[in-house]
């Protein structure tokens, strides 16, 4: 399988704090196409920082990240924005949907940023919303949905742009057991169907059970990396 992400000797030191924080410490990793991986570890171990660096939301202090063979650590802000738009899907802990748009419009929005045609946007949005079990909630705004439903819309939105991989930062942290189970099953199914790489940061044992690879971080370093 081809490597989607390759990380080499990555460091991130936050110097804005009174004492500099070495959030990611000389970390090297790689992810292949179609992986369903969880990054775990205690709070402050660097999970979110690592996801932000992979997603181009933050710049490393040192080290390299290659996405599909291209070094993104030298990218400008504009290039990183384009990279995220075309290659990366995001699922956030707090869902972060656009509250004034319906589920369908939320999913379509990212495709509009990609200048896809209206017909293409609509077809893809409907396909994904059906896939996440929200066929009957397409024209409902987020405020009228449960947390689980909103997170499913967020997954559909993340997949809408046909990204190479999805970064999900504690996606189940705000969900009850039933919603978590449903969401994980959907993501697992879409991972198989669409072949998109999923990388989670999580504390949730239910996510870890579903993951096929578990990377444990401690003090910004890879403690263990197990393929299950």
């Amino acid at each position: 399988m081809s490597k989607v992400i390759e990380i080499n000797k990555l460091n991130k030191i936050y110097t804005e704090t009174a004492v500099p924080v070495h959030a990611v410490n000389d970390l090297s990793l790689s992810f292949e196409q179609g992986e369903f991986a969880a990054i775990v570890g205690p709070s402050g171990c660097g999970k979110t920082t690592l996801l932000n660096l992979i997603g181009g939301l933050d710049k490393p202090t040192d080290g390299k990240i290659w996405i599909d063979g291209t070094d993104i650590t030298t990218f400008s802000i504009g290039q990183l924005t384009d990279l995220r738009l075309w290659n990366i899907g995001f699922v956030f802990q707090a869902y972060n949907l656009i509250p004034v748009l319906t589920a369908r419009e939320n999913v379509e929005f990212i495709m509009e940023l990609q200048h896809k045609s209206k017909a293409e946007r609509r077809a893809r949005a409907e396909e994904l919303l059906v896939a996440v079990g929200l066929a009957d909630r397409m024209d409902v705004r987020p405020s009228r949905m449960s947390g689980g439903q909103q997170q499913r819309v967020a997954v559909a939105r993340a997949l809408a742009s046909k990204p190479k991989f999805i970064l999900a930062d504690e996606p189940t942290a705000n969900l009850d057991s039933s919603s978590t189970e449903t969401l994980l099953n959907i993501m697992e199914e879409l991972n198989g169907k669409e072949g998109t790489t999923f990388i989670f940061s999580t504390h949730d044992s239910r996510v870890m059970k579903k993951a096929r690879r578990i990377i444990t971080l401690e003090d910004g370093k890879v403690l263990t990396d197990n393929i299950i």
Partner: protein
């Protein structure tokens, strides 16, 4: 979709948006209504001045305007009137004798301008006859000998009434002093107290006999044009036909009085002794001056060298009104501009709150791939929509109010003395044109754009990684 999101976003906090919207609307209503009232008052003033006092265009002998002596009448005035009457845009033409005189009702003399008019043709160029109430006589319709029409204000000062005698002392064409008794056959009252106190009207035919003028001899030709007529083109036609210019010692002295650049004086001095230049030839000379001249300076220079007939539109005859009209356009910008500037600070404050409340959302938008330009555009659009919503509401309310007030009028009778001393009516019909509304909409959009600059800049300065995790 950004447009749709921006529009929907302004209604997320309805109370806050409505407060801003109504602040803009109320501010604009106040500004637009103030401008409309001033505009309406000025329009009425101009309309009355044209229809009652000065006409659309006036013709005089050029030297009469510098020194109004009785013998400075227009040559071939009768022929000129006949020619002007042929113009399709001209409603009526009338010749006037115009003489300075002293008027006395037995309680002391006062200065006055005596206008010798043909009652029939004058009625077509001026509606002054409408300002004579039935109870105070009429427009030369009595059998009185030597009838005269004066204003009620002058009648009060002279302590005379209808049918009473007044004595006029003036100078005839030969420069001899003449005194004559007239009887008041009509008393008028316009909204212009200065005009009322200055002007008296007698029949042309009587003045001609009394002062030795021929039948078609006039100091002034007045014409009333259709309301939509192009005055500039009519006056240009008249200038080409009747104006003449001479560059000689006298007219060069007029030029010297204008305080123009010495190079201009030298230029015209070099062309001295050119006489009887027509309008076209004079324009050619003006084009070749050593420096570029403003339109007003060109007009002043033309006036300085005029030796034939001077053609003046109402704007030339009443420059103070023309200037007020010009400033009225600026007043709209100034009034509405100040109001929008004040409102702009409120809009900036509101939009800063909006950005602050939606840090997480802006972070998410940038994280999923919305570039900074689009985020910036979205905030600008939201601000413009909010401003426009208030602007359109203000304009709609203003137009309804103005439409209603333009029918009923605003009666400011308590301020009559002040208004009438400036020639303004106390019943004002507010007016604002479509082009003014368009200007206001553009100003509102600009206010929205400018007010959005700082909040939008704050939004795009957010770090998506931090913003998306903010509480």
């Amino acid at each position: 979709m950004i447009i749709s999101i921006a529009w929907k976003n302004i209604w997320r906090n309805k109370l806050r948006s409505f407060v801003v919207l109504f602040a803009i609307a109320i501010g604009l209503v106040a500004g637009i209504l103030s401008v409309a009232v001033m505009n309406g008052a000025l329009r009425d003033r101009i309309k009355i001045a044209i229809k009652t006092e000065i006409g659309s265009i006036q013709l005089h002998r050029a030297d009469y305007l510098n020194n109004a002596e009785p013998d400075k009448t227009i040559d071939n005035a009768g022929e000129i009137i006949k020619k002007i009457e042929e113009n399709q845009d001209v409603i009526a033409v009338s010749g006037r004798l115009k003489l300075e005189a002293m008027i006395n009702g037995g309680h002391g003399p006062r200065g006055a301008m005596v206008l010798g008019v043909n009652p029939d043709s004058e009625k077509r160029v001026s509606d002054l006859y409408r300002y004579i109430p039935d109870s105070l006589g009429g427009w030369f319709n009595s059998d009185l000998r030597n009838p005269i029409i004066i204003s009620s204000r002058l009648a009060d000062k002279l302590k005379v009434g209808l049918n009473n005698k007044v004595q006029l002392d003036f100078v005839n064409k030969q420069g001899e002093a003449i005194a004559a008794i007239f009887r008041v056959c009509g008393i008028f009252q316009t909204n212009n107290s200065i005009y009322d106190e200055m002007n008296v009207f007698v029949e042309n035919s009587i003045l001609q006999k009394m002062l030795g003028f021929d039948e078609n001899e006039f100091h002034q030709i007045v014409l009333l044009t259709k309301e939509d007529a192009d005055l500039d083109s009519i006056s240009t036609v008249l200038k080409r036909k009747y104006s003449a210019f001479s560059i000689n010692t006298n007219t060069l002295q007029n030029l010297g009085n204008l305080k123009v650049d010495s190079s201009i004086v030298d230029y015209f001095s070099a062309n001295q002794d050119l006489v009887s230049l027509n309008y076209g030839q004079m324009l050619e000379l003006l084009k070749k001056t050593p420096m570029v001249l403003s339109l007003q300076t060109q007009k002043d220079i033309l006036r300085a060298f005029e030796s034939g007939i001077t053609v003046m539109t109402w704007e030339d005859a009443a420059p103070e009104m023309a200037l007020t009209s010009y400033w009225m356009d600026w007043l709209l910008y100034i009034f509405v501009g100040i109001i929008l500037l004040a409102l702009g600070f409120g809009i900036v404050n509101t939009m800063l709150m909006v950005v602050l409340e939606r840090v997480k959302e802006f972070g998410m938008l940038m994280a999923i791939g919305m570039n900074r330009r689009r985020v910036y555009l979205m905030v600008v659009l939201e601000t413009v929509f909010l401003s426009l919503a208030g602007g359109v509401t203000g304009i709609v309310i203003s137009s309804i109010l103005i439409s209603w007030l333009s029918k009923s009028g605003i009666n400011l009778v308590s301020l009559a003395e002040g208004f009438n001393s400036m020639g303004y009516s106390t019943l004002i019909y507010p007016y604002i044109g479509l082009e003014d509304y368009i200007k206001i909409v553009i100003m509102v959009i600009l206010t929205g754009v400018v007010s959005a600059l700082y909040p939008a800049w704050k939004a795009i300065r957010l770090n998506p990684a931090d913003a998306v995790r903010s509480e």
